[in-house]
């Protein structure tokens, strides 16, 4: 196995330990070069031109789309809409599907652990349409029980919007089971895959969801590119969201007819450069392999959680089982505010996140105003985890609690 870490210049340029991978990943040289190469050899506005460069740009863009379709388990290319990120993908569904299909008295079911991006769009739909948001709640270990979802998903439920992997607890939700149950109640299911796609093979058909949203930047692609998978039958019936160039068929002064899928949902000049970067990231992930990614992350997570368990003043949120964390370990430290943890660790060149992690309702639910989070990816090392633990164990002393 070659040393993948060598591909990440930023990780080899100093002694920083980057443990904020759940916020955004680093990008390997291969991805950055793929984007530059696109601009240096095939740059033109795709979809519009009759000349070679534009045809090449169109090919590059559309084969990135096929690659994404493949990556999500072999769906149809036209079921993939490129967006900026998970947030835009979910907003697209909220505006185009939600606003037209949710009515007064209906219910939208989410979990209390949703990222704000999978909550606020539904708050908007609920508010504008007079619907009610219903919250699935997990147990201490982060698990949403069958009883929980079967009691809250009902005939009134029109949409179930659920995170695949929680960005705070790292837990993987039982999306397939919930989707199956939700469908039996006539609801449509959206899965927020922002935290799963970097870490595990995803098959949206096996998950059985109707929509699946994710971001490239969390899986080594550039910022600025993400995607939405939607079942063709649903996408076809939906109205466009953004309108403008590229997504039309005929336009008169007062009217327009729309292009076919997927272009109907991609208004304006597309981000072909970063789509090419996403395709390169998928190639890179395939080269590394999810088997290796999972194995490496589990080894590191075990080391991390075992080490933190030796610090009695630390509380870890979520499952006690290190295999259920997807590399995400969220914690608090007695007497030390998470922001201070993060700042002190930064003095030691350790990057961890502190705050509400865009999941304030979950913070309220677990009763922590703010937490610290270390999140790993396969390119992190055991040596980094050990150094992290050593630095972490020094934080309380810095904060005046003696050794």
């Amino acid at each position: 196995m070659r040393d993948f870490r060598q591909d990440f210049d930023i990780l080899n340029s100093g002694d920083y330990i980057y443990f904020d991978n759940a916020a955004t990943s680093q990008r390997p040289r291969q991805v950055l070069e793929a984007v530059s190469d696109f601009y240096k050899t095939a740059n033109a506005n795709p979809l519009r031109g009759l000349y070679d460069w534009s045809v090449a740009a169109t090919d590059a863009y559309e084969s990135a789309r096929s690659k994404v379709a493949d990556f999500l388990g072999g769906v149809k290319s036209e079921e993939i809409i490129f967006t900026r990120n998970t947030t835009e993908s979910i907003n697209l569904v909220a505006y185009s599907y939600g606003m037209d299909n949710v009515n007064e008295g209906d219910e939208i079911v989410v979990t209390v652990m949703e990222h704000h991006s999978n909550l606020l769009p539904w708050q908007m739909v609920a508010k504008k349409k007079g619907a009610t948001l219903v919250f699935l709640e997990p147990d201490e270990e982060g698990v949403i029980s069958e009883e929980e979802y079967t009691s809250k998903i009902t005939d009134k439920t029109k949409i179930v919007a659920i995170g695949h992997v929680s960005n705070v607890m790292g837990i993987t939700n039982p999306v397939a089971e919930i989707a199956e149950y939700a469908h039996s109640k006539g609801a449509v299911v959206l899965c927020d895959g922002a935290q799963s796609t970097p870490h595990m093979a995803v098959n949206v058909k096996e998950l059985g969801v109707d929509f699946f949203a994710f971001s490239g930047h969390k899986m080594m692609a550039p910022m600025g590119i993400g995607a939405l998978y939607g079942k063709k039958a649903l996408l076809e019936k939906m109205n466009p969201f953004l309108t403008g160039g590229e997504m039309i068929e005929y336009v008169t002064r007062t009217d327009a007819t729309y292009a076919e899928l997927p272009h109907k949902f991609e208004a304006g000049t597309v981000n072909a450069g970063d789509a090419v970067g996403l395709a390169a990231a998928i190639d890179y992930i395939r080269e590394v392999g999810f088997d290796y990614i999972e194995e490496k992350e589990r080894k590191l997570t075990k080391l991390l959680m075992d080490g933190m368990a030796k610090m009695p003043y630390i509380k870890i949120y979520g499952s006690k089982d290190y295999t259920k964390h997807c590399g995400i370990v969220t914690f608090t430290m007695d007497g030390v505010h998470p922001h201070d943890i993060s700042s002190v660790l930064n003095d030691d060149h350790v990057c961890v996140r502190a705050g509400h992690h865009c999941a304030q309702p979950l913070m309220q639910f677990i009763g922590a105003g703010s937490t610290a989070r270390a999140s790993l990816y396969f390119y992190n090392t055991e040596e980094e985890v050990e150094r992290f633990l050593e630095k972490l164990s020094g934080v309380r002393e810095v904060m005046g609690y003696g050794a």
Binding site: S343, G369, M399
Partner: protein, 147 residues
């Protein structure tokens, strides 16, 4: 100053052994100040006698920097006139923004000047200024802060 040194030499003392933390009986002005992104959340109470700040206390929670900063602030403003306190808040916020750097002004701030280096930590600026900002707000708009 390295951040760790700042904590060790200044911040911890005020954070762990605050002098002005607690509930004030019959305050004249009370105002809550929060930093949504961090979760810092304080309620500042002032007692005003003859236009001077006779006492200042705070409750709430937050990071060490926000707590220490408000505790140091209370040290500095007790005994000052309202106008003087507002001016001092301006100096402090100017220092944190990196706009006020002259010795004389910083001397005015006494111990609170130790937070000068927070100017280089944009993510912590809001923590450092929370108490000062809240005080300025309540003195300038006393109608918002009836006790």
């Amino acid at each position: 100053m390295e951040l760790k040194q700042l904590y060790r030499e200044i911040v911890n003392e005020h954070n762990l052994h605050p002098v002005h933390k607690g509930k004030m009986e019959a305050p004249d002005l009370v105002l809550r100040g929060v930093n949504p992104s961090c979760g810092d959340d304080i309620t500042l109470s002032l007692k005003i006698v003859d236009g001077k700040i006779a006492d200042a206390m705070y409750e709430g929670s937050g990071c060490a920097i926000s707590q220490a900063s408000v505790d140091m602030m209370a040290d500095q403003v007790i005994g000052r006139t309202k106008e003087d306190a507002i001016k001092l808040a301006g100096t402090f916020m100017g220092m944190i923004k990196g706009e006020v750097t002259d010795e004389a002004s910083l001397e005015e701030l006494d111990e609170a000047a130790a937070l000068q280096d927070v100017a280089h930590m944009p993510a912590r600026v809001k923590c450092a200024v929370l108490g000062w900002h809240t005080m300025q707000e309540m003195l300038e708009n006393p109608e918002k802060a009836q006790g």
